[in-house]
């Protein structure tokens, strides 16, 4: 759809609209712009110019040096990678299997089971944080990375998504594979998974993004420094009771945490956008 306006205002209005939009984009990008400017600028404590958006002509790396000196970023990156990829690996298996079952098989109680699965859709783990922590303790997974990952291994949302994906794939492909003598596992691996790739990729991106950004749950079930993830590490910079925040450091640390996703987003914008559209729920 192209918005066309009556002849009289054809020029004026779009211009106005464009101006409004640019203004909005300006407001929207200011905090991020500030982060980029501030992380390489020396900001003395008490400076009234901390909010200035004009980039400094002599950028400094001191905040990044401080951030790496004070925070164990290598460890945090590693842990975050382990957690996000670990969750994703297991999820891909569980949702493919269950998605297939719901898409292709008929069995008694299918609808009931499907609804039981869907329960989890709206119950993001933070809501059940208290009983879930108890469960992790009981399983002996407290203060371990598997403990951070475990509640996310099953994903009702992923199952739902894969069910929809499989439903769009014609059954002929499977039948042909079986006729050619493939067994079930081969059929899934060689036929269905490649065909369901868009769904799997979309799910992967959403899963990686949301778990990279997760905070409360890893905060609650770990306490050893070697189990910290990026988001938890970030807050150790800024959530102190008795100080004035070092804003340059805060900006640098925030960029270090958010940077990988921002870069990934800028590079793979189209895939990101498509996957968000495809999946809908984080």
């Amino acid at each position: 759809m192209r918005i066309a306006f009556p002849p009289t205002s054809r020029r004026a209005l779009p211009l106005l609209a464009v101006a409004c939009l640019c203004g909005l984009a300006l407001v929207w990008s200011t905090p991020l712009w500030w982060m980029l400017v501030a992380c390489v600028r020396t900001i003395p404590y008490g400076s009234t110019q901390a909010a200035s958006l004009v980039p400094d002509l002599h950028p400094t790396a001191e905040h990044f040096v401080d951030a790496f000196a004070q925070g164990d970023f290598a460890r945090w990156y590693l842990n975050t990678l382990i957690v996000t990829l670990g969750i994703l690996m297991v999820q891909l298996v569980t949702i493919t299997l269950a998605g297939y079952a719901f898409a292709r098989m008929e069995f008694r109680g299918r609808n009931l089971l499907f609804y039981l699965f869907l329960l989890q859709l709206t119950l993001a783990p933070p809501i059940l944080i208290v009983p879930n922590t108890l469960m992790i303790v009981r399983l002996g997974l407290y203060d371990s990375l598997p403990g951070v990952m475990a509640p996310y291994f099953a994903s009702a949302f992923g199952v739902f998504l894969m069910r929809q994906t499989f439903k769009t794939i014609p059954r002929d492909f499977e039948e042909a594979a079986i006729l050619d003598g493939a067994n079930f596992a081969q059929m899934i691996r060689l036929v269905l998974v490649p065909l369901a790739r868009p769904g799997l990729i979309a799910f992967s991106i959403v899963s990686l993004t949301s778990h990279w950004n997760e905070f409360l749950w890893p905060l609650m079930v770990t306490d050893s420094p070697d189990k910290m993830v990026l988001t938890v590490g970030l807050t150790s910079f800024v959530r102190s009771a008795e100080q004035a925040a070092d804003w340059g450091l805060v900006a640098a640390a925030t960029l270090l945490v958010a940077g990988p996703l921002l870069i990934a987003f800028a590079l793979f914008q189209r895939q990101f956008v498509n996957s968000f559209l495809f999946t809908g729920i984080k």
Binding site: M1, A4, T48, V130, P131, N213, T231, A258, F265, F272
Partner: protein, 314 residues
């Protein structure tokens, strides 16, 4: 297991086999399907069903002083309902919900409609609006700690040039919740915009052409064609937005801890405080049960919407 999988492969596809298998299919499929569903079911059992039941049990279990079990009853709910902070949290959550959901969706629609053409400028503007979506909520909160700081913060510093200064956004019970709302809109509007963009692509251009021939202006067509056809999309966004409103609290924890004067204390933060700061697990469980019930009725009410909305492949 192997047998079950092999059976599963037989099930369904070819007509002749279907007839052959019809008598036993129910059994065989259930068996095979069970093995495919087992991993997910087992995990859901551990981390969803059992915790829900546990929250329920704890909500109706009464504890005496020192955590000694003293029977079942609705005492936890009574204490919950008698607690002014709970009602405050509930009403905060309502205001927070209305204040975040309606403006972010409205903004999402407006921006999407304006930016739907694939020009370079539009692509750039869209990217800018979507960037906050991939930021961790915690990082957003950290940034906004500075944005909202009175005096030297980003907002105050630049507003001062317009003659508005000295607003202590997070320090005043009247404005703190709105500051949190502003943050959420900034973070989420881009996300919702993506769905609207997808929804717009599903609207046939012919409809607009026809209306244009009938002399309908842009605004009329937006009202009469675009909006009605976006309805399923909007309903879907509404559901996601409402889930976000209940389940996201990282920013509250980082920025205000629920204060000042409980003015930014929303339900999940209330549960968190009751469980961890006040050691009142019974009341926390009762509040959990209430929010679980709310979310479940939301999901039941919106299953159809979700199913439709799940598949906006462009």
């Amino acid at each position: 297991m192997a047998q079950a999988l092999a059976d599963a492969a037989i099930v369904g596809p070819r007509p002749e086999r279907l007839i052959e298998a019809r008598r036993t299919r129910g059994f065989v499929s259930a068996h095979a399907a069970f093995w495919l569903l087992a991993p997910s079911l087992f995990l859901l059992f551990l981390f969803t069903y059992v915790p829900i039941l546990e929250a329920l049990m704890q909500a109706v279990s009464l504890e005496g002083f020192g955590g000694k079990f003293s029977g079942y009853g609705f005492g936890n709910f009574q204490r919950l309902f008698a607690d002014a902070s709970f009602w405050k949290a509930l009403s905060n959550n309502l205001v927070y919900g209305l204040g975040t959901v309606a403006p972010s969706i409205a903004l999402a629609v407006l921006i999407a409609v304006a930016l739907q053409d694939a020009t370079r400028l539009n692509a750039f503007l869209r990217t800018v609006i979507v960037f906050p979506v991939v930021l961790p909520l915690v990082a957003v909160a950290t940034l906004f700690a500075f944005v909202l700081m009175p005096g030297v913060g980003l907002l105050d510093y630049h507003l001062a040039k317009l003659g508005i200064s000295g607003t202590n956004w997070l320090g005043n019970p009247d404005t703190a919740l709105y500051a949190i709302i502003g943050l959420s809109i900034w973070k989420n509007a881009g996300y919702y915009m993506l769905f609207v963009l997808a929804g717009l692509q599903g609207i046939a251009p012919e409809l607009h052409e026809a209306a244009k021939l009938d002399g309908a202006g842009a605004f009329t067509r937006f009202l009469r064609i675009t909006l009605p056809l976006l309805k399923p999309t909007l309903a879907f966004i509404l559901v996601i937005a409402m889930i976000n409103v209940v389940t996201q609290i990282d920013h509250v924890i980082v920025l205000t801890g629920g204060g000042p004067s409980d003015s930014t204390n929303i339900l999940l933060n209330y549960i968190f405080q009751a469980a961890h700061q006040q050691g009142d697990s019974g009341r926390a469980a009762a509040a959990t049960v209430i929010s679980v019930a709310a979310l479940l009725s939301l999901s039941v009410a919106s299953l159809k919407t979700l199913e439709r909305g799940m598949h906006y492949e462009s």
